[in-house]
């Protein structure tokens, strides 16, 4: 007996179901160049050799005053300007959304799921909580997930960018996140 009778790609079927299980909500469009039906590739480890990425001349994230929401808004602006981010998503360790920009529901769901998984498994895998998870969305889009600590607990930052960021770029984003989370 053959195990697979359906000849169905499970990911394709899942995509089809997503379109008919709930009414499509009015949401910001999926970042340009991709459609919501495209697949998410397996999680890639940051330890894999990154492709050659030209490191832009980054402006450091300026020190911010004001409340958390304002600082996170500034962080998003910085990511858009310096990293050419296509979408940004920030949630806490309960996966509650703190701020987002340009995120289609599919991307937000993927980011929160990754954050929840990281939050659950991270302490066993990496007790320090540091590190990065990168997911290739397609040939020209990566979802980079970073985490930082705040007085309220761990916060996760998902950034959709066109290339896999190299370590120095990741460090810059990490520093920016830490700065934005820091209470003055």
């Amino acid at each position: 007996m053959k195990l697979a009778l359906s000849w169905i790609d499970p990911l394709e079927l899942r995509t089809r179901f997503e379109a008919v299980v709930e009414k499509p909500p009015a949401a910001p469009p999926w970042p340009e160049g991709r459609s919501a039906g495209q697949r998410v590739a397996p999680v890639a480890s940051q330890t894999q050799p990154p492709p050659a990425v030209e490191l832009a001349c980054l402006q450091p994230f300026p020190s911010q005053e004001g409340g958390l929401s304002r600082r996170l808004a500034s962080l998003i602006d910085w990511l858009r300007g310096q990293m050419k981010a296509q979408a940004v998503f920030i949630c806490d360790d309960d996966c509650l959304v703190l701020a987002q920009w340009g995120c289609a529901p599919e991307l937000a769901a993927a980011a929160t799921w990754l954050a929840a998984t990281w939050n659950s498994a991270g302490p066993r895998v990496c007790p320090s909580g540091d590190g990065t998870v990168a997911v290739q969305l397609d040939n020209n889009a990566w979802l980079m997930l970073l985490s930082g600590r705040s007085v309220w607990g761990r916060v996760y930052l998902g950034v959709c960018i066109d290339q896999l960021a190299e370590p120095l770029t990741i460090r810059a984003m990490q520093d920016a996140l830490s700065s934005a989370l820091k209470e003055k």
């Binding site: 007996m1 195990l3 697979a4 009778l5 359906s6 000849w7 169905i8 499970p10 394709e12 079927l13 899942r14 089809r16 179901f17 379109a19 008919v20 299980v21 709930e22 009414k23 499509p24």
Partner: protein
């Protein structure tokens, strides 16, 4: 009022049988249930004794010849009503529920039904085209029946794509479940399809119940009755529809919030 359309990619999967018996079970659970036959071939009427097939119904209502009250048949089950398809002409059947006037009339019919009924179950023609497409574009929820055979599951992606397209251009809608029918428990290939389907589809859309291929359905069809009325003591297969009805209730937000609904002691 809740509206649930019973649909399938292909014919012969037991749509009319499920619609009829499910309506019977939902009504038996206390919900005022109206079963509407929108299949121009009148499958519901052909499945029932009592001359239902020849009576006026939806076609006569859409034509404006008869009012809503005049087309709804009461049944032996107090909570169950039946609106047969009536007597559509061939030309009417060719564009069935796809013309704006007919669609407006059908929407009005559903609105009128909401005054008297808790749930409307709609039996459709097979496939996503023609008459079924017209109905799906106006109804918010669909129960997809899938025959437990390889062809059934292989055709599921294209059918879902068609549903999404219909709802994108219509009033929106959602699938509330995928129900496996014609299951042959003693056939390994049939059970393999059941297992693979339940593994592939979202968990919340699956059912613990399946409808088996059972000669009792042929017997009930020959008698022209739902399973629940075939004998004084209904056959075991009738219980499946009770379970499906119970599984559907929360998905359709059929609830009894006002009624005290707590566990009761067996012995006082």
């Amino acid at each position: 009022m809740t509206v649930l359309t019973i649909v399938s990619q292909k014919g012969g999967v037991g749509k009319t049988t499920v619609a009829l018996n499910l309506a019977f079970s939902i009504a038996g659970r206390g919900w005022k249930t109206l079963l509407i036959d929108t299949d121009p071939q009148g499958s519901i009427g052909l499945s029932l004794r009592g001359g239902v097939a020849g009576r006026p119904g939806l076609a006569d209502y859409l034509r404006g010849d008869m009012g809503f009250e005049d087309t709804v048949l009461s049944t032996r089950v107090p909570e169950l009503g039946l609106l047969p398809v009536g007597r559509p002409t061939f030309s009417e059947a060719c564009t069935w529920l796809q013309e704006p006037d007919a669609q407006d009339a059908f929407r009005h019919l559903l609105k009128r039904a909401s005054e008297d009924w808790d749930i409307v179950l709609i039996d459709t023609a097979a496939g996503p085209y023609g008459p079924a497409r017209g109905v799906l574009g106006m109804t918010p929820a669909a129960l997809v029946l899938m025959q437990a055979e390889p062809l059934g599951i292989r055709s599921l992606p294209s059918y879902l794509e068609a549903l999404a397209e219909i709802w994108r251009h219509g009033e929106g809608g959602r699938v509330v479940g995928v129900l496996l029918t014609m299951v042959q428990p003693r056939r390994a290939a049939s059970m393999a399809v059941v297992q693979e389907t339940l593994r592939l589809i979202p968990a919340e859309l699956g059912f613990d119940a399946v409808v088996v291929r059972d000669p009792i359905f042929l017997e009930a069809s020959a008698e022209g009755v739902p399973l629940g009325l075939l004998r004084r003591s209904p056959p075991p297969a009738a219980a499946v529809f009770e379970q499906i009805a119970a599984e559907l209730e929360p998905r359709l937000a059929l609830c009894t919030e006002e009624v005290e609904d707590e566990a009761r002691s067996l012995v006082d």
